[in-house]
């Protein structure tokens, strides 16, 4: 049954991807990409990767699509017919594809528990991590503890994206525009519902943040969801009002603080005599240390991701607002 679902989803995915190639309407392309992303999240669930699915759904189908639409608002939705030949790209793609197909010929069978992937390193994560790290969610254990340095790198990548976006697009509070003018002012229903829903979304973000040790979720997903709540606020009530809730300067400090919070756990463990990010050393009991360490670093991840995603949205939408004024 699961295989059948998988097959159908993969076929739908392939159809979506092929459609994206030939469509000229960029708005439809982006919506299809959102669908593509969401379908792949479903496949991830089907393949037991619940954390990944969660992230893909919130990031690929959520934030990426929103940012792409924001860009489209500034660049126009029609792709012009291009005259240059598509022969060379096709050859390159065919060669690459052939190389990949050649590579699959010796690939181990799908789902076989005896595959080398499941043999060498992974068994320790599965068997020992509940004892060594003390969390039921192995993905969180590996993410935050065994491969914590990767996750630090990931947070730094997010931070670097903020630096890049800020160096390209400056966030400006619009002075010309009256706060009451912007947003979807006449949509009274939306205002009421948004007021009702936004606190619930933030509550859900907090749940995802702190429940990540036990179920799917964690700092990254929580940060994105919380940012989504404020993006909704900004969309419904207007950007100036959102600035009044959380200003850009404050977000910059938050983004830096998240990275520093993460790193400070590592520095503290160095101070205590362990290696960088060795949570065993930060409390008297190794298990307690792991627990504190993971909670703090997940918080760091959540803060940075929230701040960066929201700032990036601010940057894009303040461009849109400025071009509207013009």
């Amino acid at each position: 049954m699961a295989e059948l679902i998988n097959l159908v989803l993969l076929a739908m995915l392939a159809l979506t991807a092929l459609r994206i190639i030939f469509l000229k309407d960029l708005f439809a392309v982006i919506m299809l990409f959102g669908i593509f992303s969401f379908l792949s999240a479903l496949i991830f669930i089907n393949l037991d990767a619940v954390d990944v699915a969660f992230t893909e759904a919130s990031v690929g189908a959520g934030i990426s699509t929103v940012l792409m639409l924001g860009t489209l608002a500034l660049t126009g939705r029609k792709e012009k017919a291009n005259s240059h030949s598509s022969f060379l790209p096709l050859v390159v793609v065919c060669i690459t594809g052939a190389a990949l197909i050649y590579g699959t010929l010796d690939m181990p069978d799908f789902g076989d528990p005896d595959n080398p992937v499941h043999q060498h390193v992974a068994p320790r994560y599965i068997e020992e991590s509940p004892k060594e790290v003390g969390l039921p969610n192995m993905v969180t254990s590996v993410l935050a503890s065994y491969r914590g340095f990767d996750t630090l790198g990931e947070v730094v990548v997010v931070f670097a994206a903020l630096i890049a976006v800020l160096s390209l697009l400056s966030i400006r509070k619009e002075t010309e525009q009256d706060a009451s003018e912007s947003g979807l002012k006449s949509h009274h229903v939306l205002h009421v519902v948004a007021k009702l829903v936004i606190p619930l979304i933030i509550l859900f973000a907090l749940y995802v943040q702190f429940h990540g040790d036990f179920g799917p979720g964690g700092g990254f997903q929580a940060g994105v969801i919380a940012a989504a709540a404020l993006i909704l606020y900004a969309l419904v009530f207007g950007l100036p009002n959102a600035f009044a809730v959380i200003g850009a300067k404050f977000l910059y400090c938050m983004a830096s603080a998240g990275v520093l919070l993460y790193a400070s756990v590592g520095l503290f463990s160095m101070y205590k005599g362990g290696n960088f990010l060795d949570y065993n050393k930060i409390a008297a009991e190794p298990l307690a240390g792991q627990h504190y360490g993971i909670i703090i670093i997940e918080l760091g991840v959540g803060i940075t991701v929230f701040a960066v995603m929201l700032s990036i949205f601010y940057a894009f939408s303040s461009q849109t607002a400025r071009s509207n004024i013009k």
Partner: protein
């Protein structure tokens, strides 16, 4: 247990039926307002039916509570989204079929 399973299956199947009919409606109906009408109404009923069907499959634990939350959330957001879409279309100057016809007649007549 069998009884619950049967009811749950009926709910799920009818939910899927409504969902599908909504999708067909989006393709078949002629203009924006009729399409959104088809999509939003069937969407709501399909949500209730499918989540209801799933509720009967749980053993009344934490998952039940989560499903109820999902249902409530969808019941609030999905009609709101349809409403906002329709209203924006209206503000943007999109006419219903009847109005467009009237306008056309005015022009010609």
């Amino acid at each position: 247990m069998l009884f619950l399973d049967v009811i749950s299956s009926i709910l799920l199947i009818s939910g899927v039926f409504f969902g599908l009919s909504g999708a067909i409606g989006i393709f078949k109906f002629p203009d924006f307002f009729t399409r959104i009408h088809a999509a939003s109404i069937t969407d709501s009923i399909a949500t209730i039916l499918i989540v209801g069907g799933l509720l009967l499959q749980t053993s009344f634990d934490l998952n039940t509570v989560k499903l109820i939350f999902i249902l409530v959330f969808l019941m609030i957001t999905s009609p709101t989204a349809s409403h906002a879409l329709a209203k924006s279309a209206r503000h943007g100057g999109l006419l219903t079929m009847a109005e467009a016809k009237e306008k056309k007649q005015e022009k010609t007549g």
